[in-house]
């Protein structure tokens, strides 16, 4: 490349308000200059930003890049290693030791067996929405409760504990509270999970957490694993459901096509995953010097991987900024990542989204925003998972 290397100094804090589904303009601009840009981490530490599909995918498949939390070179103080069980932030063999006992519990077949139950959970929410009548906030009425109930049932969180539990996880995933509040919510969640693990070991019930007490994992490790599964298991899907509905409402021709053709549902979910990429960025640190896109990533340097811009790379996806539910190549998206850390719960997420989007569009043919689109409150970019804070919707009564 003959042009000088593009530089991005900090990750942008906000998106363009006129298109909340697109990555911030600075990131789209960076990708336009090339798949790799110089980047400065928050602590003033030099790093790299990868925005091109092929390069992001190759880093994710490359064992010379580490996921270890304690190796992250982004701030000017030491970062402690990931707590036991939080295997997203570990490399093999530690990562594999934790993932292995979980793999059989989230297979395509086992998740399909949950379809009927997920349909029931979804129908219950839609019944409640219909009974209460319009308008409503789709986040609290629909998008959050469905994945929360499902992951709580899979893990075996008792029904009466779910409300407070969701509240705590919301607090530390939302990206908008003070450090004290964040630590308090995190600590409360940890304490609750420790009690839950102890309870399952004492009195196993029919759920994944009870099954896992039969492995060589300690209670401390099971607590960490539960936290990963819960946080990954509902905040992601909840935001996909709400932001996805918003995106469909803003693309009425696509919504009409989906409503008219149930066969479009599976592909629509893949395209929404690609288009929205709610898990926007992840990081990896080079364990040795690596040549990447014509640059040398020095050992110990942390790279930021933008999944969202990779999923909008025009070299991989034609007209990438267009939501096209019939897109054939959407299945190649990186929304669930790639490599050894690719999402363990992706088959569950797919079924939840297929069931929930289908049922929602079928139940409310006149579903629409209850406020102007620009008034829909978005999560800040600092949240790990992007989404809407609330989605006021309405519909014509006495239909369906």
């Amino acid at each position: 490349m003959s042009e000088s290397l593009h530089t991005v100094t900090t990750l942008p804090a906000t998106r363009q308000s006129d298109c909340p589904f697109d990555p911030p303009a600075e990131l789209i601009d960076a990708r336009r200059h090339g798949p790799i840009s110089r980047y400065t981490h928050p602590g003033g530490i030099p790093g790299w930003l990868i925005t091109g599909y092929d390069l992001v995918r190759s880093v994710l498949a490359d064992s010379r890049f580490s996921s270890r939390k304690d190796l992250l070179n982004v701030v000017d103080f030491e970062i402690p290693p990931a707590p036991p069980g939080e295997f997203l932030l570990m490399d093999d063999p530690e990562h594999r030791r934790y993932r292995k006992p979980l793999m059989g519990k989230f297979t395509v077949r086992r998740m399909r067996l949950l379809t009927e139950r997920i349909e029931q959970v979804t129908a219950d929410r839609l019944d409640a929405m219909e009974k209460a009548g319009p308008p409503t906030d789709l986040v609290t009425a629909f998008a959050k409760p469905i994945p929360t109930i499902v992951i709580c049932e899979i893990l075996g969180v008792p029904y009466e504990d779910r409300g407070s539990f969701q509240q705590q996880i919301d607090t530390f995933m939302g990206g908008e509270v003070s450090d004290e509040e964040l630590i308090a919510a995190y600590t409360a969640t940890q304490e609750y999970l420790a009690q839950l693990v102890a309870a399952k070991r004492a009195n196993p019930t029919d759920d994944v957490l009870s099954e896992l007490t039969d492995s060589d994992l300690t209670d401390e490790e099971l607590k960490g694993i539960s936290l990963v599964l819960l946080a990954a298991g509902f905040d992601t899907t909840a935001n996909m459901l709400a932001l996805g509905t918003f995106a469909l409402l803003q693309n009425p021709a696509q919504l009409a096509a989906l409503r008219a053709d149930p066969a479009l549902t599976d592909g629509a979910v893949e395209e929404l995953l690609r288009y929205l990429s709610v898990a926007k960025t992840f990081m990896r640190t080079a364990l040795e010097d690596v040549e990447l896109g014509g640059q040398t990533i020095k050992a110990g340097t942390t790279v930021v991987l933008s999944y969202h811009t990779a999923n909008r790379d025009p070299e991989r996806f034609a007209d990438p900024h267009v939501l096209d539910l019939r897109r054939q190549e959407a299945g190649g998206h990186l929304a669930f990542s790639h490599g050894i850390h690719q999402c363990l719960g992706q088959q569950l997420a797919r079924i939840e989204m297929r069931v929930a989007f289908r049922a929602l569009v079928d139940r409310f043919p006149t579903l629409r925003l209850a406020v102007p689109a620009e008034e829909v409150a978005l999560r800040p970019e600092t949240a790990d998972i992007f989404g809407v804070k609330s989605l006021p919707v309405t519909w014509d009564k006495a239909e369906s």
Binding site: L60, A61, R96, R99, K100, L102, M103, G104, K105, F106, T107, V108, R109, R110, G331, G332, F336, S337, H338, G339, I340, H341, Q342, C343, L344, Q346, Q347, R350
Partner: protein
């Protein structure tokens, strides 16, 4: 003879299920450990495209595809 053949490396598999999702006629997952099971090492023509796609999307390199030249992929 033009035969597409597949090989799996269960030690590398991370149980993401991409193969069983993309080409269920060719791949399955072990119900106990979630890792890939190969149902057809030489998939019949009707399932070949799906098998190629599955080999393309596999996240951890546990599936390799051997094709005679000019089959395209």
């Amino acid at each position: 003879m033009r035969t597409t053949s597949l090989r799996i490396d269960r030690a590398r598999c991370i149980g993401a299920g991409m193969c069983a999702l993309t080409a269920p006629e060719v791949f399955d997952q072990d119900p106990d450990d979630g890792r890939v099971l190969l149902l057809h090492a030489e998939p019949p023509t009707v399932h070949r495209a799906a098998a190629q796609m599955a080999a393309g999307v596999r996240p951890s390199g546990a599936i390799t595809l051997h094709e005679p030249e000019s089959t395209g992929s």
